[in-house]
Symmetry: D2
Subunit: 134 residues, 4 copies
């Protein structure tokens, strides 16, 4: 369950046909993209879009992802991705995600860890405005 | 049918599960990626990889694509993409593609047109070594 | 320009990071998926979702796509896909698309042609409710 | 490092342009697809393709994925995916993966867990021929 003691964003998406596979359900790699869309939304709602972050010459390199698949989503289904931060370090941060259907059933949850790097690949400190997020 | 009077490359691919959709067949957008893989192969086989082309600060921007879908490909199927050049101009070029199954049945054919641009988006001349291709 | 004498839908999307490529812009195959999202929206807004259409045991097989790329879209950009029908036959239909940025600049336009087929791949008539669309 | 006491497959891939993102490297979700390609290869090399497995009315539903990203892969790079089984149960199995560049540098490693289900979504036993794999 999403925590109540911190900033949690909700992103609503509708499953695209291209995201399904021959099993008739959403392909497992598509949820990794849903996580990313939610992460973009999170930064935007915190007032500092990832696009403006990259404009400073930094990137957030993904260092780890984990996902657990509970129930499949299907074409045209509306899903909600909840996203929040579970760890914040000077050079790295971890997001957690929960994807649910309109009835609130948990479909997928997971986390991604990110390291702040410069354009030439060196590890750098996260912007102070981001480090305050928790 | 692929022409016999010019350079034609053959790229063999095996359909990935992620490229299928809920209809049980390869999603139509996946063939556009197969075209691109064949184009990369074409440049490599002509002795000038697209990767080395980009290293000179140029890109080939796609200006047009066309595809006709005759028969569907399915998961795990081996397919062949034939690729050749149908038009060469000083700043633009057109590739044609034919995708067939092992029995030679035509699955998809199409074409893509490309304009040579610099990193900052200005139209530029194609490298002389590429302009000799036909 | 989108016509004024027929039903035209507008679908708003925000470019995902996963849809970009190493050129720093949206990969050309991603627009084919945007077309599909707009087409799904079109059916839904006409009161007959593609999901309910497939539930009758029919599919719309893509038989042809065409796209012209005018200006690139970039990560996080909001884009609008306008979609309308340009041809309706008993067993086939053609959609046209225009993708613009918030300033109204045309980024990509194109069309897709579809044939109505049954689960076992035979060509079939489109549902009467769909054939009235123009 | 890949183990020496069990069956390990090696799948060679060349990075596609469509798999890169605006950071100039392979998008993190693309490696999840590489894992899947390696898994398909594994089953094929064990003499029982996933395609023939699905033909029996079963699916392998992904229940969990984990990936750690060490170094990025780039467009046109040749990569090797090593794949082996780390756990086998009557109804579930776990694969492990290592992706390296031609110099042997570890780029990404990870694992996926799968549950055997029937077409209607019930958990089922894995085929005996698969259960012997380790």
């Amino acid at each position: 369950m999403a925590p109540t003691d911190r900033f949690v964003t909700e992103t609503r998406l509708r499953v695209r046909y291209a995201e399904t596979d021959a099993m008739g359900i959403v392909h497992h790699s598509s949820y990794i993209v849903y996580f990313e869309v939610a992460r973009s939304d999170y930064a935007r709602q915190r007032g500092s879009s990832y696009e403006s972050f990259e404009a400073t010459g930094h990137h957030l390199a993904v260092s780890e992802i984990n996902a657990r698949y509970h129930q499949p989503a299907r074409y045209d289904q509306e899903i909600t991705v909840r996203c929040w931060i579970t760890a914040m370090q000077s050079r790295a941060m971890t997001f957690h995600y929960e994807i649910t259907d309109p009835a609130g059933t948990l479909l997928v949850d997971g986390s991604t860890r990110h390291i702040c790097i410069t354009q030439d690949g060196r590890v750098a400190k996260l912007p102070p405005s981001w480090r305050e997020w928790t």
